[in-house]
């Protein structure tokens, strides 16, 4: 019995196909002008990987930062509950989840059985999100995936004092144009620190009763993960392919719907 979770992020649309407890397919596409088109394409791509047909999908749930209904047949679940559900499935021992996407982020505290107890979002400010990494990646012309490993080579991280993405952009530009320029790893380590400091404030608001799980696209950046771990004082839990956690949570909701005898999509 296959079900699907669809996650409409601000930058990419992700889908996960679940059969029982096994993730059998997943796809991620850049979100363009029409969220619905990307969602359909991502579903097709995931289906192609699994060899399943559309009729084989017995239930679908959508979630994400973009508040657009994909199709009437698809049920919606809140981003917070999908993140918590996906995180709990990966690591039931985690009580706090920090999800960081391209321009949204969320810290969630869960009960022992994975229910959302408290959550905070970064609706008002881009500093606690992946936005700065995106800017830096464009500025330095380094692919986002390479930023983390390069930042680990830092010897003297350059402190970014701005607490605003826009001002930080100017500050980072001045590091690069210094004579001599600040080495790229030191710039990146400073950026990671700046992002981690902002995120840590959110984590503290919900509290960390036991383990902290990091997910969302930013959790793929090993430098940011290390900077958050420095605040935490111990290693954080990072699931494989952390960017799919929210879509996974949606797929788990779909499985639940299907078990309760929900409508096929």
């Amino acid at each position: 019995m296959a079900v699907i979770g669809i996650d409409l992020g601000s930058q990419s649309t992700k889908v996960v196909i679940l059969e029982g407890d096994a993730i059998v397919g997943g796809a991620s596409l850049s979100t363009g002008e029409s969220a619905e088109t990307e969602a359909r394409m991502a579903v097709q791509e995931a289906l192609r990987q699994t060899g399943l047909k559309r009729e084989d999908l017995k239930a679908a749930v959508a979630t994400g930062t973009l508040n657009v209904p994909v199709t009437a047949a698809v049920k919606q679940r809140s981003a917070a509950s999908c993140i918590a559900t996906g995180a709990y499935f990966r690591f039931p021992q985690a009580r706090t989840v920090l999800y960081v996407g391209c321009d949204s982020s969320m810290a969630i505290r869960m009960s022992e059985d994975g229910q959302v107890e408290d959550s905070v979002k970064n609706e008002r400010c881009a500093v606690s999100s992946g936005a700065l990494l995106d800017i830096v990646s464009r500025m330095l012309e380094i692919p986002v995936e390479e930023l983390g490993p390069i930042s680990l080579q830092a010897t003297a991280p350059e402190r970014v004092s701005s607490r605003c993405v826009v001002f930080a952009e100017g500050e980072i530009l001045s590091f690069i144009h210094k004579d001599p320029p600040v080495p790229v790893p030191d710039v990146l380590a400073g950026v990671n620190q700046c992002i981690a400091d902002g995120l840590w404030g959110m984590v503290q608001k919900v509290g960390v009763p036991s383990e902290l799980l990091l997910c969302g696209g930013l959790a793929r950046n090993v430098g940011v993960v290390k900077a958050i771990e420095a605040h935490l004082g111990k290693p954080a839990l990072v699931p494989p392919q952390p960017q799919y956690v929210r879509a996974l949570g949606a797929a788990l909701f779909a499985r639940q719907l299907q078990q309760e005898g929900g409508t096929p999509c």
Binding site: S10, R124, C125, A131, C164, V166, S174
Partner: protein, 285 residues
Amino acid sequence: MLTMGIDIGSRSSKCVILHDGKLLTYGSIETGPNIVKTAHTVVEAAVHRRTGLWGEYRMPLPDVKIDHLKIEDMACIVSTGYGRAVVPFAHRSVTEISCHCRGAQWFVPGVSTVLDVGGQDSKGIRVGAKGEIADFVMNDKCAGGTGRFMEIVAEVLQVPLSEIGSQSLKSTKVLPLSTTCAAFGRGAAVALMKEGERKEDILAGLHEAIATRVTALVRKVGIADKFVITGGIGRNVGLVSKIEQRIDGLRVTLPQEPMIVGAVGAALFALDRARMKSPLSPPVR
């Protein structure tokens, strides 16, 4: 006696020269990466009467020969603004808050509230009965509600900064834009452009967002009559009208040249200091 005020802002630099407290000349340039060089260049701009940033002069200037003036001719020079500590030839530096408070009173006697929105910060100042600073608030941590936000959106829309205000007045509907974060505002503006929305409507949304933000800021110190707006936004008719809609029937008083208010304040502080030191100044009784 000649005194000079030099205001090195985050985006633009202004220089004012007073002759015995009367405006002799002023000039403006964009702030470059090298502050020391910028400081020298803006003095040149004032001496040769150039306002690279704004086109024509709005204030009458005396028709006297001034292009021979040098830094050494000044009895005193006071610097202010974001780069004030780096001006090598300044005799002292004074904060922007003090200079805007002082300058606003020179332009508008009896001013009670000042809102200054510059390139990278915004501040509200409450002026006391004796012209002292009674209270102030400042936002320099976040680009929302600053000129930088307007620059970012103007860049996305490819509309010159000097035209965004008048264009926004042509809008027929106000499109909502993030009121807080300029980074989100950029994304929103790009998305609205893609959806085929009109530039003037996006600009109206931008002005609405900035007006909401800066009015909330200045409300913290209290808005009363006479309410003066200084800095770059004083030249933006769209924003001034949006702010006026939010201040309970009060009117905004605009200085003739809102961008030089801080520099005028600095030049007046320089005059105080020069008179204190000069043997020609009247003896203190």
